[in-house]
């Protein structure tokens, strides 16, 4: 298993707070997000709509639009540098080179006006330079690596000539062409069919083993990642509510929200019985409840939960949890 000593970590997000400007003025969308990603480690960031997981992943590479957002505190440490304070030029040298990213919708994430080969090679030429021909040869190798048959010929295809699964493979090839140390995958399998989803997950595990890059995998589905994750970070309403080594989290969650998410997976339901639900819905950023943000939906809530702000505290064995009752609750994991 993986140790996540700060010294050994590849990327370290520390107390990140981000606000967005909306019709209602500035609202807080990330509230003190902290976690580490170790070298060669797969960290899974889980949350439902509005949890802030995508904003977190985008902020690593500074892809949250600056005009409409502001950071009110926090750091993202990488290689001794704070990515949030790095001049944009230096950040661009890191993007797609040392840290790269793939996205949820393979259908729209490739530019329809250029060939697949051109777009993969472009990342390589941007960071490694050289002739276009050499970059294209390298792109063909990458397509082959991600399992696209007849790679050299398919370089000349346009994205619309690729199927969904192949486009996601092409995105992965593009992301890995400069041998990054960290790959951020934002819901890379959500838009794909189950069998293709399985292929992509297998591919990512294989590539991690072969290239040794760390992976930050963002998802809303705890099921997809059970066999992939080294560490799981659960987010709710802009906050990290629980971090844990994967196995422990599934067997014994510490936060009631994690427990609810695990129980809500349909695989967990008992036929003929009602499926467990979490009542209510995620609060909007402009109407956050005071105290624990999950409090109003929590079946274990006590009076104290509505009062003070609950900190993310270490519970045991490198796990942390944002719940004032984490000491006295015994929650159920997967069966």
């Amino acid at each position: 298993m993986t140790g996540t000593e700060p010294s050994g970590s590849l990327l370290s997000i520390e107390d990140l707070r981000i606000d967005f400007v909306t019709d209602r003025g500035w609202v807080n969308v990330l509230n003190g997000v902290s976690f580490d990603i170790g070298k060669n480690e797969i960290v899974v960031l889980v949350g439902e709509s509005g949890s802030g997981k995508t904003v977190t992943s985008l902020s690593v590479l500074g892809l949250v639009p600056r005009a409409h957002s502001r950071k009110t505190s926090g750091h993202i440490w990488y290689d001794g540098k704070d990515l949030t304070e790095l001049p944009i030029g230096e950040l661009r040298d890191i993007r797609g080179n040392e840290i790269s990213m793939i996205f949820q919708e393979p259908m729209t994430s490739l530019n329809p006006a250029f060939t697949v080969g051109d777009q993969i090679a472009e990342a390589y030429r941007r960071h490694r330079g050289g002739k276009k021909k050499a970059a294209l040869a390298r792109a063909a190798e990458m397509l082959d690596l991600v399992g696209i048959p007849n790679a050299a010929a398919r370089l000349r295809d346009y994205p619309h000539e690729f199927s969904g699964g192949m486009r996601q493979r092409a995105m992965i090839a593009m992301a890995l062409i400069c041998e990054p140390r960290l790959l951020i995958a934002d819901e890379p399998t959500t838009a794909l069919d189950v069998t293709v989803q399985a292929q992509i997950v297998e591919l990512l595990i294989r590539l991690r083993d072969e290239t040794g890059c760390g992976i930050l995998f963002i998802t809303h589905d705890l099921g997809v990642v059970a066999e992939l994750a080294d560490k799981v970070v659960v987010m709710y309403a802009g906050e990290v509510v629980e971090t844990s080594v994967a196995r422990d989290l599934y067997i014994q969650p510490k936060h009631p929200y994690t427990e609810g998410l695990l129980a809500a997976m349909p695989q967990q339901g008992v036929r003929g019985e009602e499926l467990p639900t979490i009542p209510g819905r995620t609060p909007e950023p402009w109407s956050m409840p005071s105290g624990c943000r999950f409090g109003p939906r929590c079946s274990h809530a006590v009076e104290e939960c509505g009062k003070a702000v609950i900190p993310l505290s270490v519970v045991d064995n490198g796990r942390s949890c944002r719940c004032c009752r984490s000491g006295d609750l015994a929650l159920g994991g997967v069966r």
Partner: protein, 317 residues
């Protein structure tokens, strides 16, 4: 925004430069807003948009002063006064007089009636033809769609102005004929907008839902399609009004539309050009009037477009 997301998307749309994180609407909006509805919401957004509001107010003022010309105009538009001819602005004639000594202000107010009514006429004709045919083509598809599309192709092979002038060559000059033919030419443009809006609406799942309920086609057209193609229709109408006004002015300027002694903004400009060396004010004021009226139509159109939001803009194609 939300409907642009993929089927399984559970995260708000991603932001790149230029987009704003759009919050979902709250579950419990203020109590008084309940009955406001979609058009109430539109009105609120429109009123919150300063340029649009300014355009609306300007349009209102222009309509009031031109339609109330008999009340506001100091003279009748055809009253000749050779003694005072070609005077610049004076206390008696605030905006000066023309070559026959007629009062420019009075002619502007009455001429505005003529020009605005003419543009309204051609847009009304365009709507009467383009709206039903556009919905028909978009909803029924197949044969009628093919035929109507070819017909609009043919109409669109000519610049609107050239075709209108050619029709005038055949049937003779006159504002009404000119505006009717212009209306027919514009109907092709409106047809296209309505047709593509209908195509977009027809693909919507709620239309399929109505079909699956067993709702008759007529009811679907009236209750589901028509209300949802209104936004692009209104937007297009305000822009067409601006174009039609300009076309009226052009045709009258060329002496093919409003004929003397009737004042219209176009005929006034046409006569002014001959005197531009001596009395430039004759050309300046009608031009400003035309520009203000066009501006008000355009601002209202832009305001509607912004208020109806992104989904509508897509439907406009």
């Amino acid at each position: 925004m939300t409907q642009n997301q993929g089927l399984h998307s559970t995260e708000p749309p991603i932001m790149t430069a230029g987009t704003m994180p759009r919050p979902k609407k709250p579950e419990e909006p203020a109590v008084r807003r309940r009955r406001a509805g979609r058009f109430g919401q539109l009105a609120r957004r429109f009123a919150g948009n300063k340029p649009a509001l300014a355009g609306g107010v300007l349009l209102f003022v222009i309509l009031v002063v031109t339609m109330g010309a008999p009340l506001f105009a100091p003279y009748t538009p055809e009253q000749i006064n050779i003694a005072d001819r070609l005077s610049g602005p004076t206390p008696a004639h605030w905006l000066g007089t023309d070559a026959l000594g007629r009062d420019t202000l009075s002619r502007l107010l009455f001429g505005g009636q003529v020009s605005l009514a003419a543009s309204a006429l051609s847009v009304a004709i365009a709507t009467l033809i383009g709206l039903p045919l556009g919905i028909l083509a978009g909803y029924v598809g197949r044969g009628p769609d093919w035929l109507l599309n070819r017909a609009s192709d043919i109409l669109m092979t000519f610049p609107a102005l050239v075709l209108t002038i050619a029709i005038i060559a055949v049937v003779g000059p006159g504002l009404t004929t000119a505006m009717i033919s212009l209306g027919i030419v514009y109907s092709a443009r409106l047809f296209r907008v309505i047709r593509s809006a209908t195509l977009v609406v027809r693909q919507e799942v709620y239309i399929e839902a109505s079909i699956s309920i067993g709702t008759p086609g007529r009811t679907i057209l009236l209750r589901r399609i028509l209300p949802n193609v209104l936004p692009p229709l209104l937007i297009q109408i305000s822009f067409l009004l601006a174009s039609a006004l300009l076309a009226e002015v052009t045709i009258s300027l060329l002496g093919l539309g409003a004929l003397p002694p009737t004042a219209s903004w176009g005929s006034m400009l046409g006569q002014a050009f001959a005197e531009i060396r001596g009395t430039p004010s004759l050309a300046v004021f009608p031009g400003i009037a035309i520009a203000l009226a066009t501006l008000s139509f355009n601002l209202v159109g832009d305001g509607l477009r912004d208020s109806f939001g992104r989904a509508t803009r897509k439907a406009e194609g």
